[in-house]
């Protein structure tokens, strides 16, 4: 225990890097998921094809491969050197964004046709329909899976350690080499990862509650902070 307490500042520094990478990755993945997900619901063949290519390519290649390519191949091919953190954010963002795009597409398509017809009857344009009606309703359905994907993304940021960024994993590795305390060194990092994930899960539940309230589905368990600790529905499968 003393071992960990002494080195806590170092772990927290590493965890902070991990949190930053996660936040950056989620921001990028979210934008990409929304853009390509919405593109995938357009009626034109070309936009749909663009969406499919993005999804299949970046879902099909491992985040680590994308990151190595960004970090090592890109500088040689273009002469442009990406900072390690950026390479990592790009890699996890592109990868999880592709999963997210499928979620967005599915959630938009799941909005009842009758709702879309009502927007036609009110003469809304496509962008008004999306902004005012379709996306707000699809949002509640996207959130649980977005939550799982965000955890996956957070875990995936650990790969930056392989290109020399001092994240939480790198700190653990450094501790082990410095002290020989393998179990403590790694358990320290794993517990911090676990805690980050739990905070994220809590945050997502808050968002889910808010989204459901906005749709007039008020949680039956009375709400409150305690209610957050219980999962709203048994989460099926994982994010992948």
């Amino acid at each position: 225990m003393e071992f960990l307490i002494e080195r806590l500042p170092l772990y927290l520094e590493g965890a902070w890097v991990t949190v930053q990478l996660t936040a950056g990755g989620i921001a990028l993945a979210f934008v990409l998921a929304m853009f390509f997900g919405i593109l995938g619901t357009r009626s034109g063949r070309f936009p749909r094809a663009v969406s499919t290519v993005y999804v299949e390519v970046f879902r099909g290649i491992a985040a680590l491969v994308i990151m190595f390519w960004m970090a090592y191949a890109l500088p040689i091919a273009t002469g442009f050197q990406l900072e390690g953190r950026f390479a990592a954010i790009l890699a996890v963002g592109l990868n999880l964004g592709a999963y997210g795009a499928e979620v967005v597409r599915g959630a938009i398509n799941a909005v009842p046709r009758a709702q879309v017809e009502a927007t036609v009857a009110l003469n809304m344009s496509w962008s008004q329909r999306m902004r005012l009606v379709v996306l707000p309703q699809a949002w509640a359905q996207m959130l649980p899976t977005f939550g799982n994907l965000s955890i996956e993304l957070m875990k995936a940021t650990a790969v930056v350690y392989l290109i020399g960024v001092a994240d939480l994993t790198a700190v653990a590795q450094q501790m082990r080499q410095g002290t020989g305390e393998t179990v403590l060194a790694f358990m320290g990092a794993l517990v911090l990862y676990y805690l980050i994930a739990q905070v994220m899960i809590l945050g997502i539940r808050l968002l889910e509650r808010r989204a459901n309230r906005r749709l007039g589905r008020i949680p039956s368990d009375g709400g409150g902070l305690l209610g957050l600790l219980r999962p709203p529905t048994p989460a099926a499968g994982g994010g992948k």
């Binding site: 009758a114 709702q115 017809e117 009502a118 036609v120 009857a121 009110l122 003469n123 809304m124 344009s125 496509w126 008004q128 005012l132 009606v133 707000p136 309703q137 906005r214 749709l215 007039g216 589905r217």
Partner: protein, 277 residues
């Protein structure tokens, strides 16, 4: 109230040349879904301010007519004119080409629709349901849209529900909000698609009362698909009996309900009455 003119009685199923006084003209309209022909070379027209009720067995194409007018479906053949402008197609030079989305939006401006299942937006309060489209589509100011919403909610008797969520309302209340929402767009034509069919029997009267008020206090042209024969008799100038994608019989409500000529009409009216409508 504008006249229902002299077009009431004759065999409307026959082709007649669209006259210029009509607001809505269907000219040889065919609608097919795959192999199924829903509308079969349909001709009819509606004068401004007229209230037309469409009756007939399910699958006879009544709802499809409303959906075509709302541009929720596209015609397979033929032309629809609204206010003299082609609806299913647009003019390019002297040819008609399939309508673009922006062209359709311009045409849709004058038309509103109320659906069987209400289709209120669950992500908005009643107020938002009534103001979002006026603000964003018509470009009304917030206050003006709000005032209009309050006025209309008063008309449908739901002023106290303005900040409620649709899920907190009964079916009948939701449908009254949906009527107010359609009226908030100030349509010239209002399409009513079986607006009481999804309601519990005790809630039907409230909705029909609202529609009677709308009919009495405005000159909106109304096309109404319904099984409520009493309502049809009270409100409409003309009743069209549909069967298999064609107009089987057309006439003033007294004629159709009091003295139907066609065997199909008689059979249909009998079955509707037997079912307790």
């Amino acid at each position: 109230m504008p006249p229902s003119d002299n077009r009431a009685a004759p065999a409307a199923a026959d082709t007649d040349t669209p006259d210029t006084g009509s607001l809505i003209v269907f000219d040889q309209v065919v609608k097919r879904f795959g192999d199924l022909t829903v509308l079969d070379h349909l001709d009819f027209s509606v004068a401004p301010g007229e209230r037309v009720t469409l009756i007939g067995p399910s699958g006879s194409g009544k709802t499809t007519i409303l959906r075509l007018l709302m541009t929720l479906e596209k015609v397979t053949e033929g032309t629809i004119l609204v206010g003299g402008e082609p609806f299913s197609h647009m003019r390019r030079g002297d040819r008609l080409v399939p309508a673009s989305e922006s062209y359709l939006r311009a045409r849709r401006k004058t038309i509103g629709m109320v659906f069987q299942q209400f289709n209120l937006f669950p992500n908005m309060t009643v107020r938002k349901n009534l103001t979002e489209a006026p603000v964003h589509v018509l470009g009304l100011g917030k206050e003006e849209a709000n005032a209009r919403a309050e006025e209309l909610l008063d008309l449908v008797g739901l002023s106290d529900k303005i900040d409620a969520h649709p899920t907190q309302l009964s079916g009948g209340q939701q449908q009254r909000v949906a009527i107010a929402r359609a009226l908030a767009m100030r349509p010239e034509i209002l399409l009513l698609d079986e607006v009481t069919s999804a309601l519990d029997p005790e809630l039907v009267a409230g909705v029909l009362d609202v529609l009677r008020t709308v009919a009495e206090t405005t000159d909106i042209t109304m096309l109404c698909v319904t099984h409520e024969m009493g309502f049809a008799r009270d409100v409409s100038n003309r009743v069209l009996m549909f069967d298999q994608g064609r107009i089987a019989e057309a006439g003033a409500p007294e004629e159709i309900f009091g003295d139907p000529k066609e065997e199909r009409t008689k059979a249909f009216l009998r079955s509707v009455l037997d079912n307790g409508y």
